[in-house]
Structure formats: structure tokens, C-alpha cells
């Protein structure tokens, strides 16, 4: 706008000059003003920035807090280590046993298949049909079926009794628990075979089957002689027992634990009639 066309604003040539010089700035201010005043143009500009920040936060949140969470979990495990291991031990044992059992089963099946294919199969059939050996064997074994007479859950090292059950009068269960533990550590120390543990003690007409867990072990006094298969079967029963009844905090002074174990040991190991009925049936 030429200066000469506005004579009435003569006193304001400065304003005019300002208008001319600052027009682009004024236009920009109006534009910005519009953006700030109206929601949509504002959102268009701000939202991407917030979104970017958010995704950055999301991406780095785990990193920043993982350490803290890790420490917390670590501490928890450290503080209740025994408890955790006691809970994991039987589960791991069962897994390993299942795996081995499955491997054995596969082996057996493959052997059987081979037998099936061979002429030996016919021979075997004839042999078993004739009765004889196997049946006699069965009769003999039935007469002396192994029975669990006493069952103990004992704290490692201290040898303190955590729980027990028996079908007969016993000298003193606490003493037996202590002596068993002493004998056990003697064997481990005397033969120093790494992590090998004492698993079976034979005494008079008894076999004492021992299965170790982390802070305690299970000992079953069995009358009669067990076959390897029966020992395996009993081990399985022990693992089931431990998994079901001992997945809790274990303290030697816990009277309710003693009661619970006394009752459940009887149910698991002493109610059932001869242990090997099942084993024998499995073989047939």
C-alpha cells in the first residue's frame, strides 16, 4: 500500500512502514494463532510427538525395569531357596523317571517286535503255553510278597524325623531315623563316590529302600526281597507321594506335618496289599 494514498495517516508513517515490513510475520502469527485455537490442526501436530514418546517409553520400559524385577525374583529365590528346591526336586525326578520309563518301554517294544518276527516267537509261545516255569515262579513269589512295614521321612544331616508310619512296633523311630542318617553319611563319606547316595540297605529279612530329596529323604523298610522292577515301582510311589504330600514348607518342629505324614504314609504305602501284584500283572 503506497504511502501517498493515505494522507490522513500522515502522522503514522511509522505504522505504515511497520505494516509493510512486518507483514510476513503478522501473517505467521495469525496462522500460529489459528493452529493453537483450533483443535484439529493442533492435534495434527502434537499427537505424532506424543506417540513417538510413548513408543519410545514402551520400548525402553522393560529394559529399565527388568533389572529391578530380576533382582526381586533373585532375592525371593535366595531367601526361600530350600523351599523352592524342595518343590522342584520331585517334579524333576518324575520327569526324568518318565523319560527313562518311556525309553525303556520303547526298547522293550522294539525287542518284542524283533522277537515277533523271528522264529523265537513261536518258541516262546510254546514255552509259556506249556505253563511250567513262569507259573511256578509266580506262585513262589506270591508267597513272599514284599510289604512295606515302616516308612520314614527324615531330615538330611540332622537325621531328625519329619514323619513316619509303621505296621509293627518299632524300637524308637527317632533313634532309627538318626542311625539311618548316620549310616547313610558313613557310606557316602567312606566311599566318596561323588554324588552317589546309599539307596538300599539289606538287613535280615528286610530291605530298606532310600530315596533322597533335597532337604529330606524317604526310607521304606520292606519285608522280603524286592526285584529291581518292584524297587522301581516303589520309587515311583515315593515320588508321587512326595509330589502330592510334601510340596510345602518343611520344618522338623512342625507337629501338623508329622501328623499329616503319618496318616498319608499309611495310605500310600501300607494300605495296599502286596506290592508286587501289580508288577506281576504287568509282566503277564
Amino acid at each position: 500500500m503506497p504511502v501517498s494514498q493515505q494522507p490522513e495517516h500522515q502522522s503514522d508513517p511509522l505504522q505504515q512502514l511497520r505494516n509493510i515490513l512486518l507483514r510476513p510475520e503478522q501473517e505467521r502469527i495469525t496462522h500460529i494463532h489459528n493452529i493453537l485455537e483450533e483443535k484439529e490442526p493442533l492435534a495434527e501436530r502434537v499427537v505424532p510427538i506424543i506417540e513417538e514418546q510413548l513408543s519410545e517409553f514402551e520400548a525402553h520400559f522393560p529394559k529399565a525395569y527388568q533389572l529391578a524385577v530380576d533382582r526381586l525374583v533373585e532375592r525371593k529365590i535366595r531367601e526361600s531357596q530350600e523351599e523352592m528346591i524342595d518343590m522342584l526336586y520331585p517334579v524333576m525326578g518324575t520327569m526324568i523317571r518318565k523319560y527313562i520309563a518311556q525309553q525303556l518301554q520303547e526298547l522293550r517294544e522294539s525287542v518284542e517286535q524283533q522277537l515277533e518276527r523271528s522264529f523265537l516267537a513261536r518258541l516262546r509261545d510254546r514255552f509259556f503255553r506249556a505253563g511250567g516255569v513262569r507259573e511256578a515262579d509266580l506262585v513262589l513269589r506270591n508267597a513272599a510278597l514284599p510289604r512295606v512295614r515302616e516308612a520314614y521321612i527324615i531330615e538330611q544331616h540332622s537325621g531328625l524325623l519329619l514323619g513316619s508310619a509303621s505296621t509293627q512296633e518299632v524300637v524308637d523311630k527317632e533313634l532309627i531315623a538318626g542311625m539311618l542318617t548316620a549310616i547313610k553319611s558313613f557310606v557316602v563319606d567312606a566311599f566318596r563316590r561323588g554324588t552317589t547316595q546309599l539307596e538300599l540297605i539289606e538287613y535280615a529279612g528286610y530291605q530298606i529302600l532310600i530315596r533322597d530329596f533335597h532337604t529330606y529323604y524317604v526310607a521304606l523298610a520292606v519285608e522280603g526281597k524286592m526285584t529291581t522292577k518292584e524297587q522301581e515301582q516303589l520309587s515311583g510311589q515315593i515320588a508321587t507321594f512326595v509330589q502330592n504330600e510334601l510340596a510345602r514348607k518343611i520344618r522338623a518342629d512342625d507337629a501338623s506335618l508329622h501328623l499329616h505324614l503319618g496318616k498319608t504314609l499309611k495310605e500310600y504305602f501300607m494300605k495296599t496289599t502286596p506290592l508286587s501284584t501289580e508288577a506281576i500283572q504287568g509282566q503277564l
Binding site: 538330611q156 544331616h157 537325621g159 531328625l160 524325623l161 548316620a182 549310616i183 553319611s185 558313613f186
Partner: protein, 160 residues
Amino acid sequence: MTSRKVLITGSFAVGKTSLFHRFVYNTFSDQYLTTIGVKVDKRVVDVSGEPLSLILWDIAGEVSQKKVPKTYFLGASAVIYVFDLSRKQTADNLKSDLKLIQKILPGCLIKVVGNKKDLVSEEELIILERTHNPDFLTSAKTGENVETLFMEIASELVSY
């Protein structure tokens, strides 16, 4: 019932087995001691109206000889360390043995006992007490202080 493992140790022939014999009713034959190096006994005592079962482990051999496996010590709530008042050399390893026990069983109750009190004179006793600072002076032969020793351990274990 609450139970605690209590172990007795010290040099050969200081009277460990005799001290236990004084205190417990013997269940198992001492044959076990020579064959497996350890024997377990038990006595139930009364501590302020509550029964406490003391499971006592007697071991053959000595701590310092490294003959006694660490496993025997594990899980013990109290250790009785015995030396023979009539044979000074049985206290020679006292300090290092106690250190070893404390290392194996941190926080465990340890009682040092000078046994065979009946064999030494009052004058000798005073000197021995000053040098070795035992917690108890006993005689497994006369029975002097034996009951006191175990009862004190029992009550300390309850309040431990």
C-alpha cells in the same frame, strides 16, 4: 515333639561315650561306634513343662584329625567338646577345633567340657579352668555335673 541333634566330640578316651552313658538309657550297642564310627542315642527331657527330644550323636575319632566327616556335624544344634582334665594334651587343639566347628556350623551352640574331674586336685582345677575356660567340669565316673550339662544345653536350645 521338638527334637534337636546334639553332637559330642573331642580327643580319644576323654570320656565322650562315658558322658552319654551317664545321661541316656542305652538302646543300641556300642559296636556301632567302632564299625561305622558313630552311634545315635536319645533322651527326652522336660524344659519348662515341654518335652524336648535330644538326639545324641557320639562319634569315634577326633575333629582335628579330619577323620570325622563333615556330614556328621551338619544339622547339629549343639556340640559338646570334651577334653580330659587329667591329660592336658587333650586340650591342645581346643582353639583350632572350636574354630573348625564354628566354620562348619555357624551359630551353633558349643559347650566346652573338662571331664574326669575326679582325677585332678582342686589346685590343678583352678589352673586348668584359667587356661582353657571350660563351660563345665564333669566326671562321667561319679556323675558330677553330667545332668546339669545336658539340662543346660536343653534349656538353651529351647530359647535359642
